[in-house]
Symmetry: C2
Subunit: 336 residues, 2 copies
Amino acid sequence: MDSPHINPFLKRTKSTVHISALYSDLKDGKISALSKAITLVESTAVNDSAFAKGILSKALPHSGKSFRLGITGVPGVGKSTFIESLGKQLIASGKKVAVLAIDPSSSITRGSILGDKTRMEELVKSDQAFIRPSPAGTTLGGVARKTREAIILCEAAGFDFIIIETVGVGQSETAVHSMTDFFLLLKLAGAGDDLQGIKRGIMEMADLIVINKADGENRTAAKHAKREFQNALHLMPQKNQYWSTKVLTASGLNNEGIEEVSEKLKEFIAITIENGNFKKRRDKQELFWLHQTIEDRLKSEFYNQTNIEERIKDLESQVLQKRITAFEAAELLLGH
Amino acid sequence: MDSPHINPFLKRTKSTVHISALYSDLKDGKISALSKAITLVESTAVNDSAFAKGILSKALPHSGKSFRLGITGVPGVGKSTFIESLGKQLIASGKKVAVLAIDPSSSITRGSILGDKTRMEELVKSDQAFIRPSPAGTTLGGVARKTREAIILCEAAGFDFIIIETVGVGQSETAVHSMTDFFLLLKLAGAGDDLQGIKRGIMEMADLIVINKADGENRTAAKHAKREFQNALHLMPQKNQYWSTKVLTASGLNNEGIEEVSEKLKEFIAITIENGNFKKRRDKQELFWLHQTIEDRLKSEFYNQTNIEERIKDLESQVLQKRITAFEAAELLLGH
């Protein structure tokens, strides 16, 4: 027989076999299959696109059965040590834990999260854990899409907890908040970035604030910070009737306060599944991403038109010379 | 001759005469002509659209020569008394003052700003003043466009100061900030809404914060609030190298501190014209509105397509049933 490149029948058979075999391994929880599937989904190669779609459509009906936990905090707050500690605790209670990291700053800071990964030494070794750094991406929307697709694959592979980790840069926290069931904000005592957190609405998004590194000399300061956050939260409108943002102290390093954190997660899950808000939040997120994708695409299609850049430049300069208004220029560009 | 409705020549002549006469009166500073022109621009009637375009294109080259001052503050902060006091002061120094109000809440609160207008009793009487409440509008983008067009007309009519007033609701402050040279935030001592202001980025937008009602028993509290705001501002990044946000106290009621406010405006104008940032900020705003209009239109055109609502509902339900991903649904809706 000829090579698959010139025999379309053979090629189709081959790819079908590939997808079925890969999906079967993924469904069995094989880490190597999950890794490969995520790589396919992340790939920008045209040939991989059909494979990616195939594996996703197989995984989709089996997705949704995990608890999706967003964790954010500035660099230095001890995210990886905290996640390692929480992850080990969840695994000890019989759960499978996946960690996906979104790091929009990686091209600038040369991969701070990637560096961190090597520090989750024990979690990396466990066969009940899966750790995956953020895919490279040029837009946050693109990275968000890939991460959401990776969540689907992890869920189909039987992971119970999917931790989506991000650093506090730009809009990445909003993106993570929009794809998780619970949003955990890690803070340090006396770090002085509280005003920024309030300003950018991060505190408002948090379901739980954990003052990390509450160990040794830091213990008293952490308790003090806990009270301060509680006071600040009282000044803000409560998130909703069934859950007010909680504040805890913990030490990822000493495994202290971690059980209290997972107790809060359990409490939240019990309440929101009972009152239906667990599903409501997920449904809302699905529709958010549907419409967000539409808006992103409309913009990118408009701005990627042939010669549009020249026309924009020309009309921009007419606007600045007061020959037409900005609104007229927009209408001309839209072809009205 | 026949009626203008069946004689296109007569109609064209008539409308040309109309626009020329109206514009000539407007250029002479006749308030009635300015009023009429703004009404034309605000009109949604199809017949008025050509008139509006005509008068705007005549006014546009003569626009831009005013100082555009945005003023915001919650209801009860004393906006109208403050504006009356500042307006009188500016008129006394030989300037012409227009006040345009954007009130996105007017349909809910039954026109709080409109009510205020009747309280600017002295300003209303002056022939050097022009006061105009916000046009009715269904979208903030639409109201913003009409307000920006009203600014052009006021400037062509020779007004030196255009005050754009808004209440702190939703995105209206951001819109006003995006169309003014200077953004003044009115506050009350001890009003306890500071956290909200920080959160929504309003404090960050302000070029000047004025603690109003600094009179009688309130004087000490106002001084205290001034210090608190100054401290809070120190924690935030400075607006830019040439201007840090200032804090003053004033009493609109007693005309106290108003001269200090207009001194700050003068200082700002001198600095920003000297260093070129006055023009830079305006140019940036023009381009902002150009692209904002494009994005608004792309969205509204998409969502106004025939039958799109049904298709969206159908695909939304497929997404919620996990039959396709949100991204696939978006692609289908966009026709890929």
